[in-house]
């Protein structure tokens, strides 16, 4: 088969518009009903024509392909975050079909694939190139470039849907969350984390209209200079004051991670911030049950489709 051991994962893909099956010929997927064609470029099915409003993510994940992946870091930092933000354990996902909505470079797909899940990771940005590079050797991962609001799947397809740190970068967090839920099987679990409306997230939101206009490469060069320079001076009154105005990353996961995270915090076009009550409301409106906050982050939430 052209798609090797990923046959099952390919079989899940359908035409995003009419939901008809796709036929696979060469490097093209074609809709069996209306003939629409979706190219497979560098092993990645493409259901969008560009990275639209998420060009900063295209840049950052292709610059930091492996910075946050446990497999390359040789630690369990992303797994720890994944467990706390979703409440999932390996036995919950082993053998299950999971959608990673907003795969980025694949930080959390790396965890789920290790746990034995069959993962389809989608992203609107060209981060899919980085993810494909990271997972091309795995038969239980398929990467596709697609928009959350126009997904190439039939409804009630996935056992679990995970979207960590993604939905707040869409034009309408609630609407995009609601567009995910129909793809969940009855009895399946959706788990998300969005930016909370507190602390540094509020401050960063004020900056976004200005910082997101800076060309990605220029802003990234600046982050590469500023973050290490500021981190080396933790007791400086000047940098302590700067931190209050312009919070920069210091997560204890290494300098490369902090440069990436500072860039990530200020460069996206959209930066939604939300209260736990708001997020819980979206889950209730979507008809989900057993809604709970699985860990210490109060805007991480999970719920089951009854």
């Amino acid at each position: 088969m052209a798609h090797n051991g990923r046959g099952f994962l390919y079989s899940v893909l359908v035409c995003p518009r009419c939901k008809s099956p796709l036929t696979h010929t060469g490097e093209v997927l074609s809709c069996s009903k209306d003939g629409r064609r979706f190219p497979i470029l560098r092993g990645i099915p493409r259901f969008v024509e560009s990275d639209e409003y998420v060009d900063s993510f295209s840049f950052e994940w292709n610059t930091h392909k492996t910075t946050q992946l446990d497999t390359y870091r040789n630690d369990g930092s992303s797994e720890d975050i994944f467990r706390k933000k979703t409440g999932f354990k390996p036995e919950d996902l082993n053998g299950k079909l999971v959608l990673d909505a907003g795969i980025g470079a694949g930080r959390f797909t790396d965890v789920m694939a290790r746990w034995g899940a069959k993962v389809i990771g989608i992203d609107l940005s060209y981060a899919v190139e980085a993810a494909q590079e990271n997972f091309r050797h795995l038969d239980n991962v398929l990467v596709a470039q697609a928009d959350i609001s126009d997904l190439p799947f039939k409804t009630e397809t996935f056992d679990a849907i995970v979207s960590i740190g993604v939905l707040h970068h869409t034009p309408d967090t609630k609407k995009y969350f609601h567009s995910l839920v129909p793809y969940l099987r009855h009895g399946g679990t959706v788990a998300i984390w969005v930016y909370p409306a507190e602390g540094d997230f509020i401050t960063r939101k004020q900056w976004i209209p200005y910082t997101s206009r800076i060309p990605d490469r220029m802003f990234y060069e600046w982050c590469r200079w500023f973050v290490p320079y500021a981190q080396k001076r933790p007791n400086s009154l000047f940098f302590q004051s700067i931190y209050r105005i312009f919070p920069f990353s210091n997560q204890g996961l290494g300098l490369e991670n902090d440069i990436l995270d500072t860039f990530d915090g200020y460069s996206p076009r959209f930066h939604g911030i939300h209260t736990p009550e708001e997020v819980e409301g979206w889950f209730r409106e979507a008809g989900l049950v057993d809604i709970r906050i699985p860990g210490p982050w109060n805007t991480s939430m999970r719920g089951i489709r009854p």
Binding site: W207, Y210, E221, W225, S241
Partner: protein, 143 residues
């Protein structure tokens, strides 16, 4: 050679241009009140530079949750809740390994993690024992 010089020059121009732009935007956001600065917090930071470093033994603490204990400091210092704490915690004179820890990590994993938050220290013993029973001395010092 020429290529690397051009690359370095480009980098310098980017850094300078973005620094100026961000400084202007930062001033605008502060003056417009969209980013609020606390004069009290600023005063604390200035005073911290003028006084001698704080040091004390932790005498009393209460169990919070999991491996986490909370000890009041009895002095208003710059902590991680209003800046970047300079406080180090020592167990029998040995510095504990993880300052600025997430409070949930202190509760869940302990192992010497601690955080200076507000006017208290949230901490755990290096072996997750009860500090009231392990007979060790806990002290703090600003570095």
């Amino acid at each position: 050679m020429l290529r690397s010089m051009v690359g370095a020059a480009n980098r310098l121009v980017s850094i300078a241009a973005v620094s100026v732009y961000l400084a202007m935007v930062g001033c605008l956001l502060v003056l417009a009140g969209r980013i609020r600065l606390s004069p009290r917090g600023f005063a604390r930071r200035v005073l911290a530079l003028l006084r001698p470093p704080f040091k004390a033994d932790l005498i009393e603490w209460t169990h919070e949750r999991g491996h986490c204990y909370v000890a009041p400091l009895g002095k208003a210092l710059i902590s991680d809740s209003n800046g970047r704490s300079r406080l180090k915690l020592f167990e029998d004179g040995r510095e504990l390994p993880y300052p600025h820890s997430n409070h949930d990590d202190i509760r869940e994993h302990g192992a010497g993690r601690y955080s200076h938050w507000g006017d208290a220290v949230f901490f755990s013993a290096s072996d997750n024992s009860d500090p009231a029973k392990n007979g060790r001395r806990y002290s703090v010092r600003e570095i």
